[in-house]
């Protein structure tokens, strides 16, 4: 079992880059099998928590597994009798991404420095927003598309009726449940809280715990790699 860190990753390449940096991996010799396993663990977690953008990660998971499979096969021979490393394309993409990530850092610095300068009329920002409705100049393409989408949404809203099954468990219920179980007890293992319960129950309970943590009602500490304990503050 891998310990997974949920970080603010910008995408699958960013996550791969994180592994490379953390494990001091030689970028030209990536241990594909290990990285693939860890990558998949992260994707699984994303799915459980219903995080956005899983699709992009799934595509890369497939790519990694493909590379892993190809590395097990006897090496293909290219025209110049040179072995083609199945990892090559991935490495090139990672390197390309590293450069733009750094460039993004440069831009951030420039933007920050520029904001330390104030030109004339540095306050009219509020006015600018009020003027929006009176602006007749050519709007940006993005603004047009968004406006179109809004109109379309209004138009179709009446026709399409989505049936959404109500959540069986609510955050409030689970919060109360967690606090109830903690009553008069020193500590409770997360696994014992959700033992033999449905996925929905586990997920909502986990979210409730996160909220309690945020509000500093409870404390959490790690026991083994597969479990953690809760206690009241």
């Amino acid at each position: 079992m891998y310990r997974v860190q949920i970080g603010p990753f910008e995408g699958p390449l960013d996550l791969l880059l994180f592994f490379v940096k953390r494990d001091e991996i030689d970028i030209y010799d990536i241990p594909i099998a290990r990285i693939t396993e860890e990558f998949l663990a992260y994707v699984q977690l994303m799915e459980e928590l219903n995080l956005d953008g899983v699709g992009d990660f799934l595509y890369f998971a497939a790519l990694l597994m493909d590379i892993k499979a190809r590395m097990l096969l006897p090496a293909e021979k290219a025209e110049e009798e040179q072995e083609v490393d199945p990892r090559r394309e991935l490495v090139e993409r990672l390197l390309e991404y590293v450069r733009y990530k750094e460039a993004a850092g440069h831009l951030e610095k420039l933007h920050h420095m520029r904001q330390l300068h104030y030109g004339r009329g540095y306050v009219p920002e509020a006015e600018q927003y009020q003027e929006v409705e009176e602006r007749w100049e050519t709007p940006s393409l993005g603004a047009l598309i968004r406006a179109f989408r809004k109109v379309m949404q209004k138009a179709t809203a009446r026709e399409v009726v989505h049936q959404v099954a109500p959540e069986v468990y609510t955050l409030e219920e689970q919060r109360a449940f967690v606090l109830e179980r903690l009553k008069g007890r020193e500590k409770v293992a997360f696994s014992s809280l959700v033992m033999r319960r449905s996925r929905a129950f586990v997920i909502v309970t986990f979210l409730a715990i996160l909220e309690l943590l945020k509000n500093q009602v409870i404390r959490v500490f790690l026991g083994t790699e597969e479990d953690f304990y809760l206690e009241r503050v």
């Binding site: 953390r22 001091e24 991404y97 993004a104 933007h111 004339r120 540095y122």
Partner: protein, 203 residues
């Protein structure tokens, strides 16, 4: 009235960068006898900046976007910020910055190319950057599907304190990047972070 003062007046009154050609036009119509050229305008701007610096003034003329703008120096930022409490320093998210960096360095560039480099869909970021006025559609690619091509705007240059794309920091070569101590420094920080995590766990 000498031309330095006229330029100062124009720059003071303007709320956005003023192009050299605009200043030239004003001077040529109002002061034809001076027969000014571009070099003279630029020299006058340099002279203004020298005066501001020597006199310990709060402003300088900066070359931003496609022109020049009178703005306060960074040292004054805390005071101006304190005056206008509503204005907060705005930060761009990493997805916006990464997308903008790709557009800035590779323009004109299409959405499929940007998606490929970042490994994620750039649709939202592109829409947001278009809305902010940092990028614009520059045309269509000849590639399959004729995707739109994006590039940066003059407003982008202005907002990032650049007077042209050639002012952008040169992207470093890969070998240089990998050999950078900062790359290993980041790595060391990550390791240190994990170690403290582990010791906390043990205690």
């Amino acid at each position: 009235m000498n031309m330095e003062v006229i330029i100062e007046a124009i720059l003071f009154a303007a709320t956005a960068p003023v192009r050299v050609e605009e200043m030239l036009e004003v001077l040529r119509t109002t002061k034809p006898e001076l027969s000014v050229d571009e070099a003279m305008v630029r020299a006058a701007i340099d002279a203004l900046n020298e005066k501001y610096a020597e006199g310990g003034h709060a402003v300088r003329v900066y070359a931003w976007g496609e022109g020049f703008q009178l703005s306060t120096i960074p040292d004054m930022a805390p005071y101006v910020q304190a005056h206008s409490q509503e204005r907060r320093v705005r930060k761009l998210t990493r997805s916006l910055l990464e997308t903008l960096a790709i557009v800035a360095y590779r323009q004109p560039v299409s959405k499929p190319e940007i998606d490929f480099i970042r490994g994620v869909d750039a649709g939202y970021a592109l829409g947001k950057l278009l809305e902010m006025g940092y990028i614009e559609v520059k045309g269509r690619s000849d590639q399959v599907g004729r995707p739109l091509l994006y590039g940066t705007t003059t407003y982008f240059l202005e907002q990032f304190g650049l007077s042209g794309l050639e002012d952008l920091p040169r992207p470093r070569e890969i070998e240089e990047l990998l050999a950078d101590p900062a790359f290993s420094r980041e790595r060391a920080q990550l390791l240190a972070f994990q170690q403290t995590e582990e010791t906390q766990k043990q205690s």
